[in-house]
Point group: C2
Chain length 306, copies 2
């Protein structure tokens, strides 16, 4: 049994109202696998970097029990680099630099030792690469979770729809759900998207929490109100990683477990934004996570006796 | 013991993507008292109308057990009239007409039979009128809930702050909480506002639910995801009316009861938007309300065993 996480492993340079970083390690697969590692100890990543990626950077993965056999290192090439600057409200940002580098011709390799994959997280990447990974697995995983974004809806909707058809859970934000479905009401949007392939749809609403749709059921998860958001980079990937990591740990797919997985994913994301980049995700304790989960429980619990 | 609701009783003409109405009865006190009537049977309103207000319109109140002794009828004058048109997303609207009419010189009269007031809902009106009502009550009510809006923050912040100082619960939306506090983070905004007088702050977030702040406690209430919002007019007033009506029925002020009151208020508001104006609020059954409450319970419940 294993959990595979595919996505970018990259360098980011981030500027927020609180400060700025040099090039630090980022990328969807980085955030997601670190988050998953708190619940499921043997996540395997599929990604590509250049030889500017240091041994110490790779050690960070292995120290968290993450298998990097599927991390290709391209000699003479550079890792994907993104630089962005957040506005004062932290809800929007400008991309300053995007250098695709190794990502331009990313051909994902699935090591033989990865073929027992039961849980597959497709982090945000071109829909073709996401699809290739599914096809290169000899057995279809028990659960495929796919994250994507408006960018792919803008430029390659057909490919995107083809990939969406193959997954079990789709995670997108509210604007993306509206774009993908052409419906303003999220209820109608979800109904449409659930006919496109996925059995579960998670709509991420940032500071407003998340909605889970499945058949006629809806779950509304709160977001933890935070006094300070230091750096939102990677919060969505952290959410997705915590989500699938928790499900891989529990081992049973059900609406109830999905609900809990969303709370765990949200808790990890709430840590992620407290520091720059992955910093806060590197050394969380079980006690810290449990205390955070308790905050979510207290935040949304009410008892009405009818 | 009594519950007093002050606010506008008015005529509205509403246009939404689904259709438009002629002049129909609206106003904050109308929505709030109808909502409250489902929980607390003897709400008393304080408001003013012109002689264009029909006996049949008043009968609607009395049929719902609402005491209209405090509803002044000004002969030879016209009722407050508002006309607005909602945009396609229903989240924004243009005001087409505002005729203050009787509201221009509204001097709220508190009948002697209202003086046993324990629960006071100050619907959205000028802060001076809201304050006058508090001062004309011989005994301070057990609970004063105040609704207000950005308009008063723009043009009479000092009066507003003076009135806010006198109340127990303030209900505003997220943009208004930011404006009132000068803080973007809602956690910081709430902390500041809770030093201005109110012991409880409710931040209404429309389709994203509501947040309740009290001391260091936070409650996040979901909004019911709706396939169709037919007409959002009065949803906030309905929420406030359901909220205070439930508390008046229960009779004890506590954080737990406030949480439940928010769920009841949200449930009533979710009915309100299903039809034009007050239509849906006129004939709700206990069974419908209980079923809606159950939807809220199912929507947000999760069970994590640590």
């Amino acid at each position: 049994m294993s959990l595979i996480i595919i996505g970018t492993v990259a360098f980011d340079a981030i500027e927020t109202p609180f400060g700025k970083t040099d090039k630090i390690v980022g990328g969807a697969a980085t955030y997601a696998s670190l988050a998953a590692s708190y619940f499921y100890n043997k996540a395997k990543i599929v990604a590509v970097v250049g030889d500017d990626f240091q041994k110490a950077d790779i050690d960070t993965f292995t120290e968290h029990g993450i298998d990097t056999e599927g991390l290709q290192i391209k000699t003479g090439e550079k890792s994907f680099f993104w630089s962005g600057k957040y506005h004062n409200d932290m809800n929007s940002r400008d991309t300053l630099i995007t250098e695709l580098n190794v990502l331009e011709n990313f051909d994902p390799v699935i090591p033989e030792s990865y073929q027992d994959c039961e849980y597959l997280m497709l982090g945000n990447l071109t829909p073709q690469v996401q699809q290739t990974v599914i096809k290169r697995l000899k057995n279809r995983p028990k659960l495929i979770v796919m994250d994507t974004m408006n960018f792919w809806m803008d430029i390659m909707m057909d490919d995107l729809l083809e990939t969406i058809k193959m997954v079990d859970v789709l995670t997108i934000n509210d604007a993306e759900a509206r774009q993908l479905s052409g419906e303003y009401s999220l209820v109608k949007a979800a109904k449409k998207i659930l006919t496109m392939g996925p059995k579960y749809l998670i709509i991420k609403k940032g500071e407003h929490g998340a909605l889970l749709f499945h058949d006629d059921q809806i779950f509304s998860a709160p977001a933890l109100p935070l006094a300070e958001v230091f750096d939102p980079t990677g919060a969505g990937d952290t959410f997705a990683g915590g989500f699938i990591g928790y499900l891989a740990k529990v081992g049973t797919i059900s609406f109830n477990n999905m609900k809990n997985a969303i709370i765990y994913g949200s808790a990890l994301a709430s840590f992620c934004v407290e520091k720059f980049g992955t910093e806060k995700l590197l050394n969380l304790t079980e006690e810290e996570i449990e205390a955070r989960i308790q905050e979510f429980v207290k935040l949304s619990a009410f008892t009405i006796e009818l």
